[in-house]
Each structure stands twice: as structure tokens, then as C-alpha cells.
């Protein structure tokens, strides 16, 4: 971020930097227009609010023009097997049952011989992209998708790899990708949180640290919403019991009606203003408090609305199909449509894609996910959002091309272990060259063989598409400047449209 900062003479003595206060007094629309909804303290100056020549405030100058304005991250938590989905390996058929040439590679658990994929692959799109029978709907969108077949991460365990994929670090305590994005770019809708995390049930293995703001201001915390599907769905996306009011964190107070609250607020504002009038100096903090009360009031009606997918047409609901992933995907599209910066959709509680025992477990998960994932692309297109919405899809790591044989595999020996050495993720939408395959794994799909892409590189590319230079989006904490990409990361230029 190129941030012009007026020099602060005694930074340690300036809990409220002069730039901010001066600036706020000059904003025509008052505090509420700021994407930060009135962060007080010094965070605004830290967040790089800069004063335009006309005295207006721009929140965050982009480092370069953005190709995407928002991100939808579809997360198959547990670990999708690349050789069974998007990275076919004919050599596995040939060497099925034989040991990996050159000896086995240590992963989390004990593994045995090479194992062929039980799933048939088919060519899709103009470029003839290989997609397995698990993802026929995604296959149909192949011309819009860039498959990166050479992602790698550091550790073959869920927790560190989930953290790496979400926060750029294997241990708890760094801000999430979504937090960095809202910190860097703000949000476009002040009535909704800037970063939303959807998961049907109490979430994934690591949980809240995956969407934590860590040392960034608390406003950048991801908002977790359990979009559980009620029992009576009748095989549809929206069952009779569905009530958006039950999903969200800013609910109507059952004890009060809106007009009652309105009168409370009116009196409160009157009293606050009386108090302010007694003081001669304008205090932006108090002004901001009044503004945020107004926003809070509005949130109560606007937020339930966005989650009310009953308002969608029958055709749209059909496009997504049934189930919690479908619902999460549709909500994600509705959220980004209303200006939410990033929405993450997790498949489910725990590590549902973790097919240690039998790779056939992927069949159900893929059936739940395939149609909704493709629907995200199609629906974004029909809403005119695809060109500037980035869709990212993948897991924390891939799976081994060899069978798992330890006790944990339950004696079936048809499952696959965790594989951090090479796996596939796909991107589509804003700024992505569709119909491309980038990178490759070795003949068996175990390790990256060509154009390796570390998670840091993926993050650098996501930030790049959002108009941010990943080396410049920093936050000073504990004596040094932190970045999402730490000290690494290279933008993958070849996949940019």
C-alpha cells in the first residue's frame, strides 16, 4: 500500500494521530461513510486512510488496479484427493498395487502400494481439461477455470495446513486472509460484516483461529455463521422450517419492536447531542458512536434479508441443488453481491474430506459440492459479478497416490493419506485466465514436478488480483512488520488474464 503519512512528531504521545482527527472533521458524509464503520483510536491511520487533495478521504489506495473486488473461497476441508478429481495419473493404473519407485514418501500415516483412482476422467471444455466423474458440473465450467496442479504446503496435518491455507502460517496467531483483505480494502456495505465464514455446523478442526483477526483490529474478525440445514428440507434447498432470523448474529430483539427501538435511539441521539453541544470541540469518537448506533439499527433489518434465500427464484434454487453446501454457496453469492469482501464456505464440521479409510467417501462429498460450486460460477455470471469476483476452491492439502495401510485405515486399504507435497486447487473469475492448467505433479501425482506454487504464492496472487502488493500490506506488531505472505510469496503471473 502506498500510504502517505503525515509525520507524527511524538508517535508515542499521540494516541489519536493528527491526520485522523483533522481528516474526520472534513468528511462531508460524516464518519459513517468510512468502510471501517468508525474505528476509533489510531487504527484508521494505521489502516492507511489517506487524505485526498480535495480534503476527502480515501480508504486505502490500491497498489495497482484491482481485477477482483471480492473473494469466495470454497473450502473442502479434510483434503481433496487430486488424483481422483482434477489431476489424472494414468501411471497409477499401470503401476497399481506396486510400490512407489524410489521408495515411499513419509506422510502422516503408514502407506502402502500405489493405488489407481476408482473414478473415470473425462475431457471438458475447449481446452480438453481432465475432470473426474466426481465433478461433472464443475467440468462443464472448465473454460472458466484455472486449475493449479502444483500447490504445495508444509506439514501433512490438518491443523497446521488449515492454518497455513487460511492465515499463511502453520501456527495459531496470524490474521486470516479475509481479515487482511478487509484491513486492506475495507468493506463496501457497512450494514454487513466484511468477512463472513459459513459452515453448516460448529466448524472445522481448527475453528475460530482460521478466521481470526489476530493482531489486526477486532473489526476484521471473520463473522462465523452456522448455516445448518433444518431437518425438513424435502430434498430442497430451503425447507419449511428455514428462518434467516435464526442464522445471524444481529437478530431482532424479541423483547422490543422496531418502533420502540427507534424511539429509544431518537432519545439517545438527542441526549448525546445535547452533551456534545456543551463541549465546544467536535469529538469524532462521539460522532462515530452515534453513527454506529444508526448502522446497528439498520443492520437488524438488512442483515436477515441477505440470508433469506427464499427470495431467490425457483430457477436459482434449482441451479444450486439441495444441501448445506448449496445453501452456503448461494448465500456466499448473495453476500458478495451486497459488498461483503470475502466469504468462505466450508463443507462441514471436522474434516469431512479426510478419506483415510476409503476414497469412495469422496463420492458423497463431491455430490454435495459439485453442483453448487458450478452454480457459483454460473450465478455470478448471471448477476454480472463473475468478472470481478474471484472464486478459489480447494483443500488444506491433497491426498497420497498410495494407499493407506495403517491401523487408522480400518483394514480396508482403499483410502489415501494426507499429502502436502503436491495437490490441485482451482481459481475462476476476476482476473483469472480461464481454461488453463498451471503446473504439474510427478507421474504418480505425489510431488510437484513443474512450476511449484506454495500457499504463500497463492496468497500473493489473490492479493495481487485484489489490487494489493502483498509485500506492502503490512501491520506492525510485536516489533516488526507482518505480512500475510511472511517473507515469501511470488505472484503467479501466468494465470492472470
Amino acid at each position: 500500500m502506498s500510504i502517505e503519512r503525515r509525520e507524527i512528531v511524538f508517535p508515542h504521545k499521540a494516541p489519536t494521530p493528527v491526520t485522523r482527527r483533522d481528516a474526520l472533521c472534513r468528511i462531508g458524509n460524516g464518519f459513517g461513510m468510512l468502510a471501517f464503520a468508525g474505528l476509533v483510536g489510531e487504527s484508521l491511520a494505521k489502516a492507511g486512510a489517506v487524505e485526498g487533495k480535495d480534503g476527502s478521504i480515501e480508504v486505502r489506495k490500491l497498489d495497482h488496479p484491482a481485477k477482483a473486488k471480492r473473494v469466495i473461497f470454497l473450502f473442502m476441508n479434510g483434503g481433496l484427493s487430486q488424483v481422483d478429481s482434477f489431476d489424472p495419473k494414468p501411471m497409477l493404473d499401470k503401476y497399481h498395487g506396486k510400490p512407489l519407485p524410489g521408495g515411499s514418501i513419509a506422510t502422516e500415516r503408514k502407506t502402502g502400494a500405489l493405488m489407481r483412482s476408482p473414478f473415470k476422467f473425462k475431457k471438458y471444455g475447449q481446452a480438453g481439461m481432465d475432470v473426474s466423474e466426481l465433478f461433472p458440473y464443475v467440468g462443464e465450467c472448465a473454460d472458466d477455470i484455472c486449475f493449479i496442479r502444483s500447490i504445495y504446503t508444509d506439514i501433512p496435518n490438518h491443523e497446521p495446513s488449515m492454518l497455513m491455507m487460511n492465515t499463511g502460517h502453520s501456527q495459531v496467531g496470524r490474521p486470516s486472509l479475509g481479515s487482511w483483505l478487509t484491513y486492506g480494502l475495507g468493506t463496501e456495505n457497512k450494514s454487513l460484516p466484511g468477512f463472513v465464514v459459513l459452515c453448516p455446523d460448529v466448524p472445522t478442526t481448527v475453528g475460530p483461529p482460521l478466521w481470526n483477526n489476530a493482531f489486526l483490529p477486532a473489526v476484521h474478525q471473520g463473522t462465523y455463521i452456522a448455516d445448518k440445514v433444518e431437518k425438513q428440507t424435502d430434498g430442497r434447498l430451503v425447507g419449511k422450517e428455514f428462518d434467516p432470523q435464526k442464522l445471524i448474529s444481529f437478530i431482532h430483539n424479541e423483547k422490543f419492536t422496531l418502533p420502540e427501538q427507534r424511539r429509544e435511539l431518537d432519545l439517545l441521539e438527542k441526549l448525546d447531542r445535547m452533551q456534545m453541544a456543551q463541549e465546544k470541540a467536535k469529538d469524532p469518537q462521539l460522532e462515530a458512536a452515534i453513527q454506529s448506533m444508526e448502522i446497528a439499527y439498520r443492520m437488524q433489518t438488512e442483515a436477515p434479508d441477505v440470508f433469506d434465500i427464499r427470495k431467490e427464484s425457483e430457477a436459482t434454487l434449482k441451479l444450486y441443488g439441495p444441501g448445506s453446501t448449496a445453501r452456503g454457496c448461494l448465500m456466499a453469492v448473495r453476500l458478495v453481491e451486497r459488498g461483503v469482501r470475502m466469504v468462505q464456505v466450508y463443507y462441514g464440521k471436522g474434516d469431512p474430506w479426510d478419506a483415510h479409510v476409503d476414497i469412495q467417501m469422496h463420492r458423497k462429498n463431491a455430490k454435495d459440492s459439485d453442483q453448487p460450486f458450478a452454480a457459483v460460477i454460473k450465478d455470478l455470471k448471471s448477476r454480472g459479478l463473475f468478472k470481478d469476483t474471484l472464486v478459489v476452491c480447494g483443500s488444506e492439502f491433497g491426498r497420497t497416490p498410495v494407499q493407506e495401510i495403517g491401523a487408522g485405515a480400518g483394514g480396508s486399504q482403499t483410502g489415501r493419506d494426507h499429502n502436502p507435497f503436491g495437490f490441485t486447487m482451482w481459481l475462476a473469475g476476476g482476473g483469472i485466465k480461464g481454461g488453463t492448467i498451471y503446473g504439474a505433479t510427478d507421474d504418480f501425482g505425489f510431488k510437484v514436478a513443474d512450476k511449484p506454487v506454495h500457499v504463500h504464492d497463492l496468497h500473493a496472487t489473490i492479493l495481487h488480483l485484489m489490487g494489493i502488493d502483498h509485500t506492502k500490506l503490512t501491520y506492525r506488531y510485536s516489533g516488526r512488520d507482518f505480512r500475510l505472505t511472511d517473507v515469501s510469496g511470488t505472484v503467479i503471473q501466468d494465470i492472470l488474464a
Binding site: 450494514s191 460448529v202 483490529p217 420502540e260
Partner: protein
């Protein structure tokens, strides 16, 4: 340091870099909760003992609230308590709408407000009650305008509230009649209606009334019902003057 304003100083140093006046500060999460309990008279100043989850029924100081490293209490987080899994050199002060929803809607804030209302109930008349409420919550006497605004609100509010509730009741009755034959679930579809969903690990008492499923039914049973005076006290508790230290 004084919070007096000086035009001359303001012109020279609007940002108060040279400390010509005290900076206004928002209270920390613990201070907000403790202060609410203090003014309501519910604060239990007992020292020592194990920590306990923060719920609307828990009246001990916030420092005795349970802090989970895995998932920080939603209330603490909302008011900028630093994440417990990293070291924090200082605290942020944010001002986000959800904080205001906490004052507007939470069972906890409502309960403390009702207790403040109880504390002033024994005063002879409304004006005296308002004066006492100001003295308890803000530590000063109300100005004439403030007093007037309060009296006006309290005069009109109970009547309006009554009318509105009567209307809502009759509407509900009508809805019930039509829905009776159709499906019994209509009640649950009404915004804000139906049961609060039972939640699980994510339940978090202090946010009851703000976050669905946050408070336990047994906690809710202990709450005082809202009254016009309680709502007036809640407005005072929500004021910038209460929340910020000059």
C-alpha cells in the same frame, strides 16, 4: 488532566499531540461490564476463586470471567479484548455497530438497566427519578433540557408501547386463526418468533439477546421484564457519556 476545551490550543494542536487536554477514552471491555454492574448495584465485589463463563446472571467482576484461548468470549472480543493466543502490546479501541447492538438488545444490558430503574423507583416523582438516574449512571445532575427530554419520553412511551403491543397481539391472533388449519409452523416463520435455537459450543451468555442461542433458558428466566423506566435507564447506559471517559 483537564478535559476543558481551549480554542487557542485547539488551533495550535487539534490532535492534542502536546497533551493540552485529556484524551477521551472508551472504557475497556472489563470496565464496561463492571461499570454496568456497578451502577445497577448488582456487582459482586468478592475476590478470588475460579473463573466462570460470563453470562447475564454472572455478577462478579469481569476479571473473573473465563477466557478461552480456543474461542474468546464473544462479548470480550466485541469490546476489543486482545486474542488470548498471542501477546498484545496494547488494546485497540473500535467502535462497531455490534457494540451498539449489545447495549440495545442484550439481555445483560437490559437486566442492568432494569435494576437501575428499580434503584430509582422509590423517588417521589418522575423528575426526581430522572435526577437520581443521572446521578447514578453519569455522576451529575441532568440539565433542564435533558430532564425535559426524559420526562417527555417517559410520558409518551408507556402509552405507545401499550398500543403497539395490543396491535401486535391482535395481529398475532389473526395470524394464528388463519394459520391454524394450514400449518402449525407459521409461528416460527414470523421474524423474531419461534424458539431461540438451541446452541452448543458457540453459546455465549453475555451476547444473549444479540446472538441467537447465546443465552441459556435458565439464565433468561432470571431476567426482569422490560419496563419503560428500564428502557429509559438503558438509553442513559448506552450514551457516549457513560461509555467514554473524559
Amino acid at each position: 488532566m483537564s478535559n476543558d476545551y481551549s480554542q487557542a490550543n485547539f488551533e495550535k494542536d487539534s490532535g492534542n499531540r502536546f497533551y493540552w487536554r485529556a484524551n477521551r477514552r472508551r472504557m475497556d471491555a472489563e470496565q464496561v461490564r463492571d461499570s454496568l454492574l456497578f451502577v445497577s448495584g448488582a456487582l459482586d465485589p468478592k475476590m478470588y476463586g475460579p473463573s466462570s463463563p460470563l453470562t447475564p446472571a454472572y455478577n462478579r467482576r469481569t476479571v473473573y470471567g473465563k477466557v478461552s484461548r480456543y474461542r474468546l468470549d464473544e462479548y470480550l472480543q466485541l469490546f476489543d479484548f486482545p486474542p488470548p493466543n498471542i501477546s498484545a502490546e496494547k488494546r485497540f479501541t473500535t467502535n462497531v455497530p455490534l457494540q451498539r447492538l449489545f447495549f440495545m438488545n442484550s439481555d445483560f444490558a437490559g437486566q442492568q438497566a432494569e435494576l437501575v430503574a428499580k434503584r430509582v423507583a422509590s423517588e417521589p416523582d418522575s423528575a426526581a427519578r430522572i435526577r437520581k438516574a443521572y446521578s447514578i449512571v453519569l455522576g451529575r445532575a441532568p440539565s433542564d433540557d435533558e430532564l425535559k427530554a426524559g420526562l417527555e419520553y417517559l410520558k409518551r412511551e408507556p402509552m405507545q408501547e401499550y398500543e403497539e403491543r395490543k396491535q401486535a397481539e391482535s395481529k398475532k391472533e389473526a395470524e394464528k386463526k388463519t394459520a391454524k388449519d394450514a400449518k402449525p409452523k407459521a409461528e416460527a416463520m414470523r421474524p423474531g418468533g419461534g424458539q431461540t435455537p438451541k446452541s452448543d459450543v458457540m453459546a455465549d451468555g453475555m451476547m444473549g439477546g444479540v446472538t441467537p442461542g447465546a443465552s441459556k433458558p435458565e439464565d433468561q428466566a432470571k431476567l426482569l421484564p422490560p419496563t419503560a423506566w428500564g428502557r429509559y435507564a438503558k438509553i442513559l447506559l448506552s450514551s457516549g457519556e457513560f461509555l467514554y471517559v473524559n
